[in-house]
Amino acid sequence: MSDPPPFPEGFPVPERGLEEVAAAEPQDLAAALAFALLRVSPEPEKGLQRPSLFVAAKAWLRERGRPFAQGWPMPSPSGGGLIVVAVADERQAIWALEEALKSGAVGGAVAALSAPDFVATRRLAFAAKAGGAAAAILRTTGAEGLSAAWRRWRIGSLASAPQAFDVRAPGPARLRAELTRRRDGLPGVWELEWDDDRRIWRDAKSGPAAAEQARGLRLAAGLAGDGLDPFDPVSEGSRQVG
């Protein structure tokens, strides 16, 4: 297989349609959600911003946590607005998502579903096209079975990028995005990193911040070379004493 195209340039985000994002493991749900939200985020270049919608069952919100707007990875946290719909079961979730997409009132919508059947996904795909909106189905576990989604992703967490100013702190979040199925080309795997300035997921192996990361890595290596383990608080303590 040849190298996959760079991300996200090869996959323009404001693509209107249905995608499916699955967490590789249940613990990767937060990463999968963050990825899904960016896939459906409203088009920032157009002056008008439609709100985005998040649909989840009440049990899901209790079990996995409720959305926290200040940590929501939107292009701009204040713009567009966020509507959270708490439903009782999966049937209602599919209905709410379809209504929202059809209405043309929302720019993007994410619904946490466990096992939508093919007919449901097909309806959702049509609704997304009709309303000119992007939709993503967020799945807790790997996607099996037929789906009408244009692309199907599998998201796993990765250790975060090094932080230049504090080697012991987690840096920008990283994740592994695997495109398992797509209708318009070959599947591929990318390592993505959160770019807080542009507020997008970008390819971790390229991009403007690569130089900064390298510097951070050198810094960490330098400390380790001095015989001081940057992750060991005891050696840090002795360093302070010395």
């Binding site: 749900l29 937060a30 990463a31 707007a69 959270v84 719909v85 708490a86 009782a88 987690p170």
Partner: protein, 520 residues
Amino acid sequence: MTVWTRSTLYQKDLVRSAEASDQKPIPFALVERNGRGLCLRAVNGAAQKLGLWRGQSQADARAMAPDLVTVPADPAAEALALQRLALWAERFSPCVALMADGPGVEGLALDMTGGTHLFGGEPAFIAAFEARLAKAGILARVAMADSLGAAWALARFGGLTQIAPEGGAREALADLPVEALRLDPEAVILLKRFGLQRIGDLYPLPRAGLARRFRGPRAGAMGLKVVERLDQALGFRAEPVVPVRPPPAYRSFQVFAEPITETAGVALYLPDLAKALAEQLQRDGQGARRLTLTGYRVDGATTSIEAGLSAASAQPSHLLRLLKEKGLEALDLGFGIDALMLSAPVAEPTLAQQEGLDGERAATEAAALAGLIDRLQAKLGEDAVQTPRPRGSWLPERSEGWDAASSLGFGAFDPVLRPRPILLFHPPERVEAIAELPDSAPARFTWRRVARRVVRAEGPERIAPEWWRLSPASPRPPRTRDYYRIEDETGRRYWLFREGLYGREDQDRTPEWWLHGVFA
């Protein structure tokens, strides 16, 4: 003005069961315990025929009618039943008031001013009203007069007279006993001692003397106010009527010749109702914020569905769609409904839709959003569709409030430069954590029975407690929180906090670790 009053008030289901058991009606009574032991509170027609009366002791009644069926009275259920009946009576008049002056004297007051011609005149209206109540198994007498007091008197003591002609209250009341004036029993006894048996006896008496004589110690209460009651009955003194619920300003009504028993029938008439209501609203430049569809059942009950709107609307198609979304199946039609009302209890001026500067698109998208929110709320519940709004607090769970979503605007959040999780657990989840130093980040922690080793940690971000919000429910003062952004060996990122500072806060409690959220 009409007063309807039940000669007996009882829970209908009990009566039904008593009457259904045999072809011949069984004497039936509700009993309550008072100062004289068990007494009859209400009796049905069969019991009345046997000479039983309200207030009689149960032992006496049993002696007169050995097969009397008695059931303990439930005043709360009776009040509820009367309330339900009042709502049903809104079918005849938008202004229906309860008259629950005491046990055995309950009734309804309907303001029928200018409305009886719709039912074919006063006698026809009274006949129709009584027939409907009888069909529902309720014994009632309906009377009509210029004033509330006169109608009350005629309904209870009027005999064959049920209608006092306009301006004829004085003659109609003259032969009735003084009890018909809604007086205190003490006042009645006193009047009778003076030989004043009938209301007509009071007419020639000098008012000043009457007022002075019946001032009494309890004059301030409802008590002995003979002159006031007389004036109210004769219409010299105004008496306010407080309706069970404020009459809706906008309503459309449909009466059926034959009862409708199927939801499909309701759906058939709904477009016309919605159109009529929308016309009324549009005429006044108003839009409905709340919709109620009420069905009036033949058995004296009502059934209704309600829908809320996030923005005022007067579009028939939108109103119709909302009600359908809410589900007409939720209407309990019972044995059928013979009238249907669509009302807008809450209406607001509609904002003029400007399609200008930022184009038609903004206006249509706002309208589409309002419609979407309404439909979601109608189907899923009022509190199912929410939007976050910033609040003035540093505590994460208090820094965001959740309001019902509205198309009029969304909360604007200032960018937070500190790390904040994408999903927040509320309430936080307890974790077992081990830290190498008391005040440092944890080295390991166990969350949901899985042990995790911390590889990298950032923090603390210290958030002081809001001591001014000390609640009486939790006697201990809130403690300082130290938040850490933590990454474990598998690359998952968590938001943990330690509640309490070692040795400095609340000496007898060791600090506890909590997981408050997860990062991407």
